[in-house]
């Protein structure tokens, strides 16, 4: 046993691999012009592919490939003004639910790994499970939008462009007192406008059920 040659470690074998050594020394066969051009083209191709993939993952069609989205929130959106209206402009899922700023978007995409986990293990795979979890899910989005002063609403709507004279007196007054002063932002009042509100079980009074 003791006179057997010592087996080189995995790292030593990797380090001595001919291709590893080729990678860390100057090229003997290819010019710098060729190598930089190759790196440049690979970089352009990578960046294009990365952004294309990011855009594909930021479409409504992508969102509703999961039945949790398609059968619940997507159906509810279809009755609202953010789906059809007189001007024909509509909001898709990512317009409101994925931040547009790059860092925040990437953070949201990584956070979506938890949704992949939830999908794989069927955490919301029935309507009942979805409705039971809805208060928590809604609370997350409300907290997020309240913290960023309804940034996703303001990507389209602007308080400065609102014509208060065209609003009802009640709406105009409240907007003047609470929105234009910066005290509140859209989501603080306008909850449940694109999807149904969660039902708080504690508020349900069985005696009032038909």
């Amino acid at each position: 046993m003791s006179d057997a040659p010592k087996r080189p470690s995995l790292w030593a074998r990797f380090r001595n691999n001919v291709l590893f050594r080729v990678a860390l020394r100057p090229s003997t066969r290819f010019s710098l012009a060729f190598l930089t051009l190759g790196g440049f083209i690979a970089g352009v191709a990578f960046w294009g592919a990365f952004n294309t993939a990011l855009e594909v993952a930021n479409t409504e069609q992508f969102c509703i490939t999961c039945h949790e989205m398609k059968d619940n929130v997507y159906q509810e959106l279809q009755g609202t003004i953010h789906w059809t209206n007189r001007s024909g402009v509509r909001a898709t899922c990512p317009d409101c639910h994925v931040p547009h700023q790059w860092t925040l978007k990437i953070a949201r995409k990584m956070a979506a790994s938890r949704e992949v986990w939830g999908h794989l293990f069927g955490i919301l795979n029935t309507r009942e499970k979805f409705l039971d979890t809805r208060p928590e899910l809604a609370a997350h989005e409300w907290a997020r939008m309240s913290a960023n002063h309804s940034q996703e609403c303001r990507n389209c709507h602007s308080p400065q462009s609102m014509n208060l004279a065209k609003q009802s007196e009640r709406a105009a007054n409240i907007h003047k007192e609470q929105l234009l002063t910066g005290e509140k932002s859209c989501i603080d009042c306008h909850k449940g406008i694109a999807h149904k509100l969660p039902v708080n079980k504690a508020d349900e009074v069985p005696a009032f059920d038909d």
Binding site: A23, T28, R29, G39, F46, F50, Q101, A107, A111
Partner: protein, 53 residues
């Protein structure tokens, strides 16, 4: 460190070049962006969601 027995062949250099440019650097770039996003996600989980930008 032993001296190289012979200079690398053109095939070897091309293989290493393509492996690096097509697999290793793109993989590291994705890993870097993923780590960046993950770090912000964890940060927001502890510090609360980001404020107005």
């Amino acid at each position: 460190m032993q001296a190289d027995p012979s200079p690398p062949s053109k095939t070897q250099e091309l293989l290493v070049f393509l492996t690096l440019s097509v697999f290793i650097w793109p993989f590291l770039a994705m890993a870097f962006v993923g780590t960046y996003g993950f770090a912000f996600w964890i940060y927001f989980l502890t510090a609360g969601p980001p404020g107005p930008g």
